[in-house]
């Protein structure tokens, strides 16, 4: 606890911002910490909203064309004919599906993992007074909010929100007659602008504003992971923006960038043709795959911090982690076409992308292995953040390993577009990334508020979430391997063996009743997962005022710089500009009295 003595304690109050007034302090703030919290709260709200969309979809899958209980009448009132009698029509199901994906990826997880934690923690960790460009930072958040509002508004326009999935493949996306897709595209342009402004700011801050002594190899792994993530956002998003502009032209100016000659579907009468549907897929997945690493790298960063702190020993293989993260960054730009094996690509191209896909799993495995090895021989503190992180490791492992059959085109041909894929990437993102994000919330909460979240309810939240997540996603592997396709509003009832035997025809590969009945099981597991979040939500708000006081500026006894500030950190962060003398994870150094040595503690010699 030596380090905290050096810093004058300014008390747990929010009055550090001077007399800027309410609006400048909380709404139009340029302080990275306020912006980080704004991002965090907004993204958590979107996370919850995306989850409720999914709950309604699961109801429809489990009980096709049965009115949704509780919210059915409300849906009809709000959305009109697409939800008549409180039932979810196929159109509405498609809207919910598209928006669930869009909201979860672009409005919830990325803003939470990258923008919220990155904004709050990165400048503190590198010893900077703020981000490089505070006003650009504010513009980034505002652009994000505008994009989010446009996405939300699109639910209420005639015909409803976008229906073509979060991937928005043309010509489907262009030929659906409503304006939902146009709203989606305009919203995406705002979200892309937001992430561009954020990414520029993050990279510039990490390059320019590191405190004296904070060399590259003394940066906490979390900062490295955010650094690589920012580069992915910076370079991978613009091609999607270009594609978005072109699809917008297709929608609004009636061009045919993605519409082939001779296409006659829906409202597309007189098109000039000559476009390429594959072009959209290439541009989309050029973003889409790096985006996967945008989702996972910040989570790995959080995991590294929490593990080092709670095993009370240095993270195993810091350099390997850093180089692996950089390798993942580079490789993630040349694996995108493994999402497109079914488009009929040539063998040579497929071989190239299979090879790069297999290679990119190596650095991911290195990172996971380093995390596991870090646990070895540590005296582990099992607090809530650590529990979430411990669960992240095997959950991410399941998600990653089940991805290998999808990376080979021969096995992907069978599994493509089935529930297996859904289970695979949700294992990466839901019990993977989201668990790491929960760990981050519990871990940095005392720094943000000066109070701890309740430990008991944190554990309840953890165990229920862990069990329910697995009950939801494990059955999907079985469904998918049996050939159940995604995105069917009746959950595949059309393909049951029973249904087809009614017509007398013998069906090979029809779905068994058992597989269909799993939908009901998954529905109730999802409902339980929703209930499991109640302790978290209450805990989150209740602890702001009534949580146990953190007791010091460094309640977890951590080494990194964000804990060597007053709590919560004032505008400008550090009472005295920090100087860094050592690496990020000096825990249990032999010969030291305390089992942790903060980065800004000078050598005693």
């Amino acid at each position: 606890m030596q380090a905290t003595h050096a810093v004058p304690h300014t008390g747990i109050h929010e009055e550090h911002h001077g007399d800027a007034g309410f609006w400048r302090t909380y709404v139009f703030s340029t302080d990275h910490k306020v912006i980080g919290i704004q991002y965090g709260v907004t993204a958590l709200a979107f996370l919850f909203f995306g989850f409720t969309l999914m709950l309604m979809m699961r109801w429809q899958i489990a009980h096709p064309s049965v009115p949704v209980p509780l919210v059915g009448p409300l849906l009809e009132k709000l959305l009109g004919s697409v939800a008549s009698q409180g039932k979810i029509s196929p159109d509405l199901y498609n809207s919910f599906g598209a928006m669930h994906g869009t909201i979860m990826v672009f409005l919830a997880i990325v803003p939470l993992a990258f923008a919220a934690f990155g904004n709050y923690v990165v400048p503190l960790m590198i010893g900077a007074p703020d981000m490089c460009f505070p006003r650009v930072n504010m513009a980034s958040y505002q652009s994000y909010v505008i994009g989010g509002i446009i996405m939300m508004v699109s639910f209420f326009i005639p015909g409803g929100a976008a229906q073509a999935g979060w991937t928005s493949y043309s010509p489907l996306a262009t030929s659906i007659a409503t304006n939902g897709q146009t709203f989606w595209l305009v919203g995406m342009i705002f979200l892309i602008t937001s992430s561009l402004l954020g990414a520029v700011n993050f990279i510039a801050t990490i390059i320019q504003l590191r405190a004296p002594g904070m060399t590259w190899m003394r940066m906490p792994f979390f900062v490295w992971s955010q650094f690589v993530t920012a580069f992915l956002l910076l370079l991978a998003f613009p091609p999607l923006e270009a594609a978005g502009v072109m699809q917008l032209m297709d929608k609004v100016a009636h061009t045919s960038f993605f519409l082939p000659t001779g296409l006659a579907v829906g409202t597309l009468g007189h098109i000039s043709g000559g476009g390429s549907p594959l072009l959209w897929q290439h541009l989309f997945w050029f973003l889409g795959h790096p985006e996967v690493y945008v989702l996972i790298l910040p989570a790995m960063g959080i995991v590294a911090e929490v593990i080092a702190n709670n095993t009370r020993k240095p993270i195993w293989g810091y350099k390997s982690l850093v180089y692996s993260a950089l390798t993942i960054g580079f490789l993630s730009f040349i694996v995108w076409a493994h999402h497109m094996y079914l488009t009929g690509m040539g063998i040579r191209v497929a071989t190239f992308f299979q090879t790069t896909t297999m290679i990119i799993s190596i650095p991911s495995v290195i990172i996971l292995t380093c995390m596991f090895l870090s646990l070895w021989g540590g005296s582990i503190r099992f607090n809530t953040p650590m529990l979430f992180v411990m669960a992240f490791l095997p959950m991410f492992g399941i998600g990653g390993l089940t991805g290998l059959p999808l990376g080979f085109n021969f096995s992907d041909l069978h599994l493509h577009d089935t529930y297996y894929v859904i289970a695979h990437f949700h294992y990466i993102v839901a019990p993977g990334t989201i668990f790491a994000l929960f760990a981050g919330v519990y871990y940095w909460y005392p720094k943000m508020t000066g109070r701890m979240m309740n430990e008991f309810w944190g554990r309840v939240h953890f165990w229920l979430s862990l069990i329910c997540m697995n009950l939801i996603f494990q059955p999907m592997f079985a469904q998918g391997m049996a050939g159940m396709i995604r995105r069917m509003s009746d959950g595949g009832a059309n393909y049951t063996a029973a249904h087809n035997s009614a017509t007398g025809a013998e069906v090979i590969g029809g779905l068994s009743d058992g597989l269909i009945r799993l939908h009901v099981f998954i529905l109730w597991a999802a409902v339980c997962l929703g209930i499991a979040q109640i302790p978290f939500i209450i805990n989150f708000f209740w602890s702001i005022k009534h949580g146990k006081p953190a007791g010091s500026d460094n309640p977890w006894q951590a080494t990194t710089l964000e804990w060597q500030t007053p709590t919560p950190p004032p505008h400008g962060n550090f009472a005295k500009a920090p100087i860094v003398y050592r690496g990020p994870y000096e825990y249990s150094v032999p010969g030291h009295t305390a089992d942790f040595t903060p980065q800004n503690e000078p050598d005693k010699a």
Binding site: C132, F133, I203, P238, M246, S272, G274, G275
Partner: protein, 259 residues
């Protein structure tokens, strides 16, 4: 609270913050235009034999615009250099030229756009194809300055050097005889689509850059007096962006006008 390195250079990186920021931003812009140029290549390679247009744009207007933009890039450097030498008056003069160039570029570009919007391809009910610029349009008839072609393919290659330009005459076509009529806007052909998208996006960049330069040019006097170094940096940053916009055009011109 002061953020370090806003004007002074950080020793180990050799840069001030905004310069790192603008280069990162430009890297992202390269990816944006790179994706569009790649799309251009894919669409062009995928077009049926003989149906990718040649010579649809006026080369000398494009050349003029290229000269205009290169001139503006030179004056942008000179404006920044003038500030470095402490001469605010010269800065004003050079950036005035830059702004005039930006305006000239946009005027020429809008003329070219307008030219495309009045240019029509008309399929008659008897199967003939007329092509030309609309001169007069009434309820009953359309008058174009153009020609009839036998084969639609003839419209796609206007740059045959030895035949000279095709002969154009005034043709009046009765509205009742018209089967379809489509102007050379974005929806006419994927070439027009990518042409309008690329140049439109580029024009937005020109407008954005010109607005920033105008802001610094018109209201920069105060900052020049109080914080000349920071002001010079701002001019440098806006100049870097302007050079990028110029560079994009250097690629656009051959790709769309010449090839």
């Amino acid at each position: 609270m002061e953020i370090p390195y806003t004007t002074e250079i950080r020793r180990d990186t050799g840069l001030y913050n905004a310069k790192v920021g603008i280069w990162l931003f430009l890297a992202s812009e390269v990816m944006l235009f790179g994706a569009l140029f790649s799309s251009y290549i894919l669409l062009r390679v995928g077009a049926p034999e003989g149906f990718w247009p040649h010579g649809w744009l006026t080369v000398w207007l494009g050349t003029l615009n290229t000269i205009v933009l290169i001139t503006s890039s030179i004056t942008t450097v000179m404006a920044w250099a003038s500030l470095k030498m402490g001469n605010f008056g010269k800065f004003k003069m050079f950036h005035a030229i830059t702004l005039c160039c930006a305006l000239a570029f946009l005027c020429i570009k809008s003329y070219e756009y307008h030219d495309k919007f009045i240019h029509n391809e008309i399929t008659l009910k008897d199967g003939r194809i007329a092509d030309g610029h609309v001169v007069k349009k009434t309820e009953e008839a359309v008058t174009i300055e153009g020609r009839f072609v036998k084969d639609r393919k003839d419209l796609f290659n206007l740059s045959t050097p030895f035949l000279g330009p095709p002969k154009y005459e005034e043709i009046e076509i009765k509205t009742a005889d018209i089967a379809t009529m489509s102007n050379y806007g974005p929806a006419h052909h994927t070439y027009n689509a990518i042409y309008f998208t690329l140049t439109g996006l580029h024009a937005l960049h020109v407008i954005g850059g010109a607005l920033v330069i105008f802001y610094l040019w018109a209201f920069g006097g105060k900052m020049w007096k109080t914080d000349p170094e920071r002001f010079t940096n701002r001019v440098e940053i806006s100049g870097l962006f302007w050079h990028f916009v110029d560079l994009v055009w250097i690629f656009l011109f051959p790709v769309l006008y010449l090839l």
